[in-house]
Amino acid sequence: MDSVFDELYEKYHHDVFQFIFYMVKNREQAEDLVQEVYIRVLKSYERFEGKSSEKTWLFSIARNVAIDHFRKQKGWKQKIAEKFDWTTGQVKDESPIPEEIALQKEEVGKIYQCLDRCTVDQRMVIVMRYIQELTIAETAEALGWTESKVKTTQHRALKVLKKEMEERMAKEETASEKIRVER
């Protein structure tokens, strides 16, 4: 095997796969996209001059691949948007929860679904900052942003998640209360 591929696989494969998975929430698509990341990386590896860290460079490519994917998928995304029921603030048809997440406690599954309500930018920041545990500086470098943009995006994303989580929880509570009253 190619030594560059070998090295990158060893060091970063799981991080990159994870990032892409949480961006697209679909295992097959993530598998395809991660291959696309390698193709772009291997094509431009000679041009990588070590000015940024290898890790953030790889993430910046992964980000571009993910963005491209969303670009191509806009028809599909729009379909999902149409399914969104504006009166109840609920997405009717959500992407299925993978096994790994279904095994976790309930809140994890909920927040996984709430991620859909963030913009692409916000989701990228959330995934990089909390799931990949990149620092603000690393996230900024990978996204080609300033640190302050990362901070404000992160802040807005948490606000979106907070609101969503609270709405879901509140609804569940009223639902369970109803059941109790009916009894």
Binding site: M1, D2, F5, Y9, H13, H14, F17, Q18, Y22, R27, A30, E31, V34, Q35, Y38, I39, L42, K43, S44, E49, K51, W57, S60, I61, N64, I67, D68, F70, R71, Q73, K74, K77, Q78, A81, E100, I101, L103, Q104, E107, V108, I111, Y112, T119, V120, D121, I126, Y130, I131, G144, W145, T146, K149, L158, L161, K162, M165, E166, M169, A170, E173
Partner: protein, 404 residues
């Protein structure tokens, strides 16, 4: 347990507890998939053109003698015929022998032939004066208006501003001309992605407000570059037409929904400047150079010039070489920027340096300078730019022509 209240800390904790998702495939399988994909991509890029070239040569070889014969039968003079056929065939013959010598290396003749042709083309363009300058300058603009359209690149990473000069037409409104040009832009031919005409109705009300109406299923809701190009183009249009408000509608309803910006009822027209220009070579047309502003603004022009020595992720490459040292950046007058290339800077009178000067001028323009003086002791001129004298900043970036 009642937990309808959430704070940031709890959310952060929950997020970092998200399970690690593993890719269960064998790395060897992944590597194999990649190599298959990469070789497919490569194959596609040369098989078709070389087969086509081979077929073209074959046709040529068959047809040329026939055409000559036909000439022969119509012409009466024997002598005339032989000179005509000689002069037509000889250069071709010379080329063929050249090629067959090369193909002794075992490569396909057709491929070498195409490569050769490409090389020739490349030399041609680097010699041609006109092609060297990417931007539009005052002297190019005898009597016309300029429209700048924002077009996304094919990788969805950058927005390329493309400027078109349109001759002034009497009795025709600028706005009408703008809409007309929008339908004849050749994005794909330019190596960019298909974007125009906008799927929106544009109209002007009260002579100062641009109204933009999109259908409910408008294509600008998702996709980062699409959203950016859409809003950027409208901002640019408002500027060109001297309008001071852009109102957005979805059919009759006020506001357009964007994934990036949320629901926007109007566009912010406040001056969005201080960008640096980088080199961008489209993936689909790698020989075409565009000078493209990076979306992130810089605090000062010094910072911008420093940043321009570095590549930006994918798609934007450094527009100032590492070994050009810019010192003494100061504003000479209010609108004049004065800078100096260090004597150790390695600069020659070549196209690539002309492009560097263009990038510097366009960046200066974005920082609201009108003229730039570049002090450099070792050269009087780089292309048409005089060193140590005032140079006017370009009118607009990336001039393109639409030939109908």
């Amino acid at each position: 347990m009642k937990r309808s209240e959430w704070n940031d800390k709890q959310l952060e904790e929950l997020l970092s507890n998200m399970p690690k998702i593993q890719d269960h495939r064998d790395p060897r399988d992944i590597y194999q998939n990649i190599t298959i994909k990469m070789s497919k991509k490569k194959q596609r890029s040369w098989v078709v053109p070389s087969v086509a070239t081979a077929a073209a040569i074959l046709l040529f070889v068959i047809l040329v003698p026939n055409v000559m014969n036909w000439n022969e039968s119509t012409s009466n003079s024997m002598e005339e015929r032989s000179t005509a056929s000689d002069s037509a065939e000889q250069p071709e013959m010379a080329k063929m022998t050249e090629n067959s010598e090369d193909s002794a290396g075992g490569k396909e003749e057709a491929k070498i032939f195409t490569d050769k042709k490409n090389d020739e083309n490349m030399q041609m363009t680097s010699i041609e004066e006109e092609e060297t300058y990417t931007a539009l300058y005052k002297e190019d603009l005898t009597d016309g208006n300029v429209f700048t359209y924002a077009i996304p690149d094919t990788q969805g990473q950058n927005i390329v501003p493309i400027s078109i000069v349109v001759p002034k037409e009497d009795g025709k409104e600028l706005f009408e001309q703008y809409k007309e040009i929008m339908t004849s832009l050749k994005e794909e031919e330019w190596g960019l992605s298909e974007f125009y005409p906008l799927k929106a109705e544009l109209s002007i009300s009260n002579e100062s407000v641009l109204n933009v109406s999109v259908p409910t299923d408008h294509p600008y809701m998702y996709g980062v570059p699409g959203q950016e190009a859409f809003t950027e183009t409208l901002r640019e249009l408002a500027k060109t037409l001297g309008l001071n408000e852009v109102d957005l509608f979805t059919e009759e309803k006020k506001g357009i929904e964007f994934e990036l910006y949320g629901n926007l009822p109007t566009l912010d027209l406040s001056n969005d400047s201080n960008h640096a220009y980088y080199f961008h070579y489209p993936e689909k047309k790698p020989k075409q150079l565009y000078l493209v502003p990076y979306s992130q603004p810089y605090k000062s022009i010094e910072e911008a010039f420093n940043a321009m020595k570095e590549n930006i992720s994918l798609g934007l490459s450094a527009s100032i070489p590492q070994d050009i040292n810019i010192e003494e950046i100061k504003s000479a007058g209010e609108d004049i920027l004065n800078l100096k290339f260090d004597d150790d800077s390695k600069i020659a009178n070549e196209p690539s340096f002309i492009h560097t000067i263009e990038a510097i001028l366009l960046t200066a323009k974005d920082f609201d300078f009108e003229k730039v003086i570049i002090q450099y002791n070792k050269l009087d001129k780089i292309g048409k730019f005089n060193m140590n004298e005032e140079i006017e900043v370009p009118v607009a970036p990336n001039k393109m022509e639409i030939l109908n």
